[in-house]
């Protein structure tokens, strides 16, 4: 197992380097910090030249990339080309915000998805199973951006009109109420509900389907028959022996999803103004700020690689039949 892990980690390094080159070239080709000032009539040609030189944009792309890579290897992420601020605090804040949203969404999705999947399997072809199946397809096919906007309208406008309220039941944007001082847990949780719901809905659909399929396989297995034959209560058979085994694919899927989420939930964050990795990436890409884009890429790629690896290791740990060596 250790050799397997080390091998996976070593393979990841050239992959990350290759990705960074591709993304750097894409960022430089698509936009540049100087593009924003080129149409400002107060800015002269000499000003633009000086600006480019100050940011190192007058160097060749290869040189710019090499400088960035050299600094990155020494742990220096440098300053944002556009924000004039160190990159790491920006990334750290964005990662934290995305993880809060991501973990909240995944946690809720796991709880509900596992419960629905388990019940669906136990009561296969019942009305509950049929409803859950239909709901899952709805959740999977519903565009996230549409659902997010509908929730905003529902809680920000429609419910207020229908119920003649003077404030919304749940806030429709931001991480906290504007102007509030300190850390108000209740306020933060209220702001988390809608974006986490958007994230969770699709995940619930996925996890419930995984769990249902996995439970159906387990329910008819020999060892559960043995457990029943031993006289164990049905609930203990299901939960202690069945669910535990059936959870394996779901938990590994959740680990993979968490890795993907670190890259930012671009649509959800943009709509709900959640200052996470997705919004940071969008802003940086629009302005060609590769000083942010490249570390962003490194972090998100590394988290996908590491969490995929963690999922594989977890899978082997949970299921002794799995061996990688």
């Amino acid at each position: 197992m250790l050799r397997y892990v080390i091998r996976r980690l070593l393979i990841a390094i050239p992959i990350l380097l290759f990705l960074s080159i591709i993304v750097f070239m894409a960022a430089r080709a698509s936009s540049s910090p100087e593009a924003a000032i080129r149409l400002n009539p107060r800015v002269s040609a000499a000003d633009i030249e000086r600006y480019r030189a100050n940011l190192g944009l007058d160097k060749s792309n290869a040189e710019q990339y090499a400088i960035w890579l050299g600094n990155f290897a020494q742990g220096d992420l440098g300053d944002s080309l556009v924000k004039n601020r160190p990159v790491w605090p920006l990334l750290k804040s964005a990662i934290g915000n995305t993880l809060v949203l991501g973990l909240a969404g995944i946690s809720v999705a796991l709880l509900i998805g596992i419960a629905i999947g388990t019940l669906s399997a136990i009561r296969q072809y019942s009305w509950f199973d049929n409803m859950a199946t239909g709901g899952a397809f709805l959740g999977l096919s519903m565009p996230q951006f549409w659902f997010a906007l509908i929730l905003q309208l529902l809680f920000g406008v429609w419910l207020i009109d229908w119920l003649n309220l003077n404030r919304s039941i749940l806030p429709i944007s931001g991480m906290k109420s504007p102007g509030t001082q300190g850390f108000d847990v209740v306020d933060r949780v209220r702001h988390l509900v809608l974006p986490a719901t958007v994230l969770a809905v699709q995940l619930i659909a996925v996890y419930s389907r995984y769990m249902r399929a996995s439970m159906l396989e387990v329910l008819h297995s020999d060892y559960l028959r043995t457990a029943r034959a031993k006289g164990l209560r049905e609930s203990r058979v299901i939960i202690r022996h069945g669910v535990r085994t059936a959870l394996i694919p779901v938990t590994t899927q959740a680990a993979i999803d968490l890795g993907l989420i670190v890259g930012g939930l671009i649509i959800t964050e943009q709509i709900f103004q959640w200052p996470g990795m997705g919004v940071l990436f969008l802003d940086a890409m629009a302005s060609g700020d590769y000083q942010i884009i490249l570390p962003w890429l490194m972090i998100t790629s590394a988290s996908v690689i590491l969490l995929n690896l963690a999922a594989d290791v977890l899978y082997a740990f949970l299921d002794p039949r799995i061996r990688y060596d």
């Binding site: 936009s31 080129r38 040609a45 556009v82 905003q152 920000g156 309220l165």
Partner: protein
């Protein structure tokens, strides 16, 4: 015992409890203004969020940095009134005086009561420091204007005597206009590159920036502010980023969301701005039009450019694109109609769609209709390569409308749209385009030298950094542009600017379509006051928020 009914009842009670928590009085909204309560807090939406807060470096290029922060906390020598005329800012004691023509010298007299929020007087030293900051700061966004200042005499703390090396007509845009003054006593060095990037911890304006982050900016009333006409009614204003238009509109519609926004005016936006929301539309300072590349055929021919001008219906384009928020057609040659006296609508005001005239112009230039009904000359059909930003709905709509308008006339278009970076960073500087559809920013100062002068055509000499993307060379125009930048007398300058406009029209250097509309929208059940007064101003819709109050 199972009790599904009990579980359902509990769920219903929980839902009712949530609803009850949000219920309040039976306010039916719809109140339109009224007297203002004293004090209170308001929350406004910002459609773009400043990357940073340094008023000298690239942060300054972002309009929202000025609209949401700078103009509320930083003093200005000259500012703009609601009609975008230059007027003395609060820190000045009357109009600046041109005290000498040779050398060109302007004296800024400072209000004796003007102070920073720490009580330190605003003095001529602050103006002198601001000058040096523009020149010495690494990464300063522009030195234009500041680099022609020779000296600033600060012997009198309340009079800054600014001597220039040459006559500089746009002097009102220095230390003011859309520029600001910094406090000399709070910086150790004039290189302020590392300062103010995430906070402005001082104020010479009606507000003090209490906090700023990527998620909100909180401004509170400046207790030390001396100008009684601009002392804020509100105690506190919070700006929050709402970069998604739908979110912005939903937040305004929600009674506990934002109470005012200054959104990008997209067609149909007015349909979501219903009572108790009010809105005002004004012509903005961003001017959009067709920019032909004069260095490439067929638009190197004046006849072709002029024929295109008469072949299209510009008012119909503006109406089709903007509908209920139509700002009108742009009829002057490069100035915002709502800013100062510079926009001479006689430039293009007489132009109406006239296909017969367009045909005559082409025929006289040797073009003729071929069997396919397309214009042709020397075996080459008239095909205009047309470039704009891919995915920009407004501009792509214009392309569709124009193609439809001239379909029968016989001008063909080869549409090639690009990503914004590719268009503005690569193609325009390389003059590798046919005709661009994009916007230019109009400024309070009328100088258009940067976009029309011959030496501003992108070339090796200026490292492709010039902004005259039409590649229009005209030595006579160059001379007038230079003269206009040196005309300190406003009437003389107006005459020269009008001459510039005449030449632009005569040679059809570009075809103006419309100024982009600005919209100020606010909740009338929350806010009252002269809220829409600055809707057309380059200072943005929140410029006079010191006069806004909560409905009593």
């Amino acid at each position: 015992m199972r009790s599904p009914h009990r579980r359902r009842l509990v769920a219903l009670l929980m839902l009712l409890g949530l609803v009850a928590a949000a219920c309040g009085s039976d306010d039916d909204g719809g109140v339109s203004g009224g007297p203002a309560a004293e004090g209170g807090n308001a929350v406004f939406g910002a459609e773009q969020w400043p990357e940073c807060l340094n008023a000298i470096t690239s942060c300054f290029n972002a309009s929202w940095a000025s609209w949401s922060i700078f103009q509320h906390v930083l003093p200005q020598a000259m500012t703009l009134d609601k009609d975008s005329n230059y007027v003395p800012g609060a820190m000045l004691d009357g109009e600046p005086e041109i005290t000498s023509e040779d050398p060109f010298t302007v004296t800024f007299n400072i209000d004796p009561d003007a102070v920073w929020d720490d009580g330190t007087a605003i003095t001529s030293a602050d103006i002198e420091f601001t000058w040096r900051a523009h020149l010495e700061t690494e990464g300063a966004i522009t030195t234009t204007g500041y680099d022609v200042i020779d000296t600033i005499d600060t012997s009198d703390p309340k009079a800054a005597v600014v001597t220039f090396t040459e006559i500089y007509a746009p002097w009102r845009d220095l230390f003011g206009g859309i520029d600001y003054v910094l406090p000399a006593h709070l910086f150790e060095s004039a290189n302020v590159a590392a300062e103010m990037n995430d906070m402005i911890a001082f104020s010479g304006g009606p507000w003090v920036l209490q906090s700023w982050s990527d998620t909100e900016a909180v401004l509170v009333r400046n207790a030390a502010y001396w100008d009684e006409d601009r002392i804020p009614v509100l105690d506190q204003v919070t700006f929050i980023p709402l970069e998604d238009t739908d979110t912005e509109l939903s937040s305004l519609q929600s009674p506990d969301g934002v109470s005012a926004i200054f959104p990008q005016a997209s067609p149909g936006i007015e349909q979501r701005l219903n009572d108790p929301i009010a809105f005002e539309v004004g012509a903005g300072a961003v001017l959009e039009g067709l920019w032909p590349n004069h260095s490439e055929p067929p638009l190197d021919e004046k006849a072709v450019r002029e024929a295109l001008l008469y072949a299209i219906d510009r008012p119909a384009i503006a109406e089709a694109v903007f509908g209920g928020i139509n700002p009108g057609t742009l009829d002057c040659a490069g100035w915002a109609p709502a800013i100062g006296p510079w926009c001479d609508e006689s430039d293009f005001g007489d132009v109406e769609q006239d296909l017969d005239l367009a045909a005559e112009l082409l025929t006289d230039a040797g073009w003729a209709l071929n069997g396919a009904g397309n214009w042709e000359k020397d075996g080459t059909e008239l095909v205009i390569t047309w470039n704009t930003v891919a995915g920009n709905v407004r501009r792509e709509t214009v392309q569709e409308i124009v193609q439809e308008q001239v379909r029968e006339f016989g001008i063909q278009f080869d549409i090639q749209n690009y990503d914004a970076g590719e268009l503005f960073q690569n193609r325009l500087p390389e003059l590798n385009f046919g005709m661009g559809l994009y916007a230019q920013v109009g400024t309070p100062d009328p100088s258009v030298t940067a976009i029309y002068k011959s030496d501003q055509i992108p070339s090796e000499e200026n490292s492709k950094a010039g902004q005259n993307f039409t590649a229009y060379p005209n030595a006579d125009l160059d001379a007038i542009l230079d003269a206009s930048d040196r005309a300190a007398d406003l009437d003389e300058r107006l005459d020269l600017i009008n001459q510039v406009g005449d030449i632009i029209r005569e040679d059809v250097v570009w075809i103006p379509l419309y100024p982009l509309p600005n919209v100020t929208a606010w909740r009338t059940d929350v806010l009252t006051g002269p809220i829409p007064d600055f809707v057309s101003s380059p200072l943005g819709g929140f410029a006079n928020m010191y006069d806004w109050g909560l409905v009593a």
